[in-house]
């Protein structure tokens, strides 16, 4: 983080300055977004479909122009720069590997059209193919490759141009689960070895969390939170982010009183809860709050937990077994469902709790999140 902050002091490689994009006058796809991306960052734009992340990426690439605001690359205003003149390259969701050219011709295309000397091209193409582990595949046609290999061609084709920024539009969505996981690690390795800024668009939170240094979570055209993966997960700024990144249990709460150093809340299903102040920026001045806990921070016990832990007694409704973890769904006194994630540590094939059983569910007060909106 310090390393990144150190670099951030310099000029950002991409500066998005209050950019708005409206389609057809009525649909606002991107709404006054401002972002700065530092050189060498692995940056993710994360959000559900229709949140404007792809439109933002396409504006950086130059395929859409902002209705309002500016995009600067390396300090230069890109407003009147066409896509083929921008120092960035893109890996398309469909890969867009030209089917009528061999792999080598595909990779060479971007060099050829910009007048790189013929003598230099062959070497750079081979180097780029080696980088994505496709050495020796140059003579093949795209229809002789698997989806994963085609994607590597698209990567090589973009990286061979040595762009300042590489844009990746949902690069892993067309791959199967195993390959996707391998490719996540591969992309991180690539980014570290070439040192180019990567901006990835994804709707898959695990993809963003595992790969990016920083993530902008978007919803309906706006950035809802901009933070590191761990920060997003442990300190979400609002309900949307808390719910979108990982799973979360929410309890509606009302502030009963504030006194020296602690906050007394009336929580639905839990009763009176006393929390130390400073649990989150959200608490200040608001009467209605949400109290949130991640499922893996919860503990299940048959005995009443120690008084310093927060908790309630509930009834087991359902147990879902996933292999390394299980999810237990409880109902609390207010009747709403709470998910608890437990690690299956031992080699037991018996479920830890049975449906219908009454158990105590508890967590440490410092694991509580307070969310305003």
């Amino acid at each position: 983080m310090t390393d990144l902050q150190g670099r951030r002091a310099g000029q950002p490689v991409i500066a998005i300055d209050t950019v708005t994009k409206r389609f057809g006058g009525s649909v606002t796809a991107v709404d006054r977004v401002s972002l700065e991306i530092a050189p060498g960052e692995f940056f993710a734009l994360l959000g559900p479909s229709g949140c404007g992340k792809t439109t933002l990426l396409r504006m950086i690439a130059g395929f859409e122009s902002p209705t309002d605001g500016r995009i600067l690359i390396d300090g230069q205003d890109m407003s009147h720069v066409s896509p083929n003149k921008r120092p960035i390259n893109m890996v398309f969701q469909s890969y867009a590997v030209f089917p009528h050219m061999t792999v080598a011709k595909n990779v060479a295309y971007g060099l050829k059209v910009t007048g790189v000397p013929q003598s230099e091209i062959a070497g750079r193409v081979e180097e780029a193919l080696e980088l994505v582990h496709l050495g020796g595949y140059g003579a093949r046609k795209p229809d002789q490759l698997s989806g994963g290999q085609r994607q590597r061609v698209a990567l090589a084709r973009a990286l061979v141009k040595r762009p300042k920024v590489l844009l990746l539009d949902e690069p892993l969505s067309a791959l199967d689960a195993k390959l996707r996981e391998a490719m996540q690690l591969e992309l991180v390795r690539l980014q570290e070895s070439v040192g180019i800024t990567f901006i990835i668009v994804t709707h898959d939170q695990s993809e963003a969390l595992s790969m990016a240094n920083r993530i902008a979570v978007m919803e309906r055209g706006s950035v809802r939170q901009l933070a590191s993966p761990a920060d997003l997960y442990e300190n979400p700024a609002n309900r949307f982010v808390a719910d979108f990144i990982g799973k979360v249990n929410l309890f509606e709460a009302r502030v009963a009183s504030r006194d020296n150093g602690s906050l007394v809340l009336h929580v639905q299903g839990l009763g009176e809860v006393r929390l130390p102040q400073g649990m989150g920026a959200a608490e200040a001045g608001r009467a209605d709050l949400a109290l949130a806990v991640r499922p893996e921070k919860l503990r299940l016990e048959r005995e009443r937990p120690s008084p310093e832990r927060l908790g309630f007694e509930g009834q087991v409704q359902q147990v879902a077994y996933y292999g390394e973890t299980s999810s237990v769904f409880l109902t609390d006194q207010a009747g709403h469902s709470i998910a608890v994630s437990i690690q299956n540590e031992g080699r037991s094939t018996q479920p830890m709790v049975t449906v219908g059983e009454r158990v105590w569910c508890s967590w440490a007060p410092e694991d509580t999140l307070l969310l305003a909106d």
Partner: protein, 308 residues
């Protein structure tokens, strides 16, 4: 389809009427003409099939052979013009907004709603020596001449003694113009279909990699639209090659194509066997072009299959 095959009665009930129609009104007449092509005129109204090859031999005579070559040349040039004009049109339609797209497509299809004869007479009105184009040119000449007189250069006759209308009919230009006019929608529609199917991200990828618009057009759009281009060529070339009305009216009897000669054999020359032979040579030429295309397509398909 599958269920029809499993239920032969239903299949027969649906397939029989069109099959009957095709046999009675297409295959049988075609067979009769085929027999004529091996026949001889006994008297004015009787043709006897003697299995002579004389009619086919006559088709190889220089006069007729030249006509075939000219027909191929005219149809070829017209097809080329159609492609050069039609491709940008198709590209514009593909890239326009959905609202505009349907209007533009309507504009392309609109000529089909008017009879060919009427459209051709309209062309006569436009291209004739006293037609609209010459009228406009004549007006421009008057204006230019008047202007020269005003500035004192009237005596030099810089624009000629008097306006001479351009000859736009009765020559290759008129016929090719007419052929292009008739065939253009047939060219645009398959091109439009091919471009519409094309994944837009190929074009964006090309731009993204630094290629300009022109480079993208020649290196990406045209190769990816190649199957549509081949379809457009065939669907334009074949009917154009057999054109009758356009060379008849716009050629003014000066620019005959093969169909005009065939017509004459069946009418004024009253030589049906020779006309039949010429018809079949045209038909074989068409078959040959189609067979060559499917062979090519087949080989490409096999190569792709072998690659795996």
């Amino acid at each position: 389809m599958e269920s029809w095959r499993r239920n032969p009665l239903v299949f027969a009930a649906i397939a029989l009427p069109p099959a009957f129609w095709l046999v009675l009104f297409f295959l049988v007449p075609l067979g009769i003409v085929w027999l004529y092509s091996f026949g001889e005129n006994i008297d004015l109204v009787t043709i006897e099939t003697t299995w002579t090859l004389e009619n086919y031999r006559r088709a190889g005579e220089p006069e007729i052979f030249t006509l075939f070559v000219r027909s191929l040349w005219l149809a070829g040039v017209a097809t080329l013009v159609c492609l050069v004009v039609g491709f940008p049109i198709a590209l514009v339609i593909t890239t326009s907004s959905p609202k505009w797209k349907s209007w533009l497509l309507l504009l392309i299809i609109l000529p089909f709603w008017t009879n060919l004869l009427i459209r051709t007479y309209a062309l006569l009105n436009i291209l004739g020596s006293r037609g609209r184009i010459n009228e406009a040119l004549g007006w421009l000449w008057e204006m230019g001449d008047g202007f020269l007189t005003i500035i004192g250069l009237g005596q030099l006759n810089l624009l000629g003694e008097r306006f001479t209308p351009l000859t736009l009919l009765g020559n290759n230009f008129g016929v090719i113009f007419g052929l292009v006019y008739v065939a253009l929608p047939f060219t645009v529609l398959p091109l439009y279909a091919a471009l519409e199917r094309m994944d837009r991200s190929y074009i964006e990828a090309s731009l993204d990699l630094g290629a300009g618009q022109l480079r993208t057009f020649f290196s990406v759009i045209i190769p990816l639209a190649s199957s549509g281009i081949v379809s457009a060529i065939i669907i334009t070339f074949i009917p154009t090659l057999g054109s009758f009305l356009t060379p008849d009216l716009l050629g003014r009897g000066q620019v005959d194509m093969i169909a005009n000669v065939i017509e004459r054999q069946f009418k004024s020359a009253n030589d049906w066997p020779f006309g039949a032979a010429l018809s079949f040579i045209l038909l074989y030429a068409t078959f040959f072009a189609l067979a060559a295309r499917s062979l090519l397509a087949g080989r490409r398909g096999r190569e792709d299959a072998e690659a795996f």
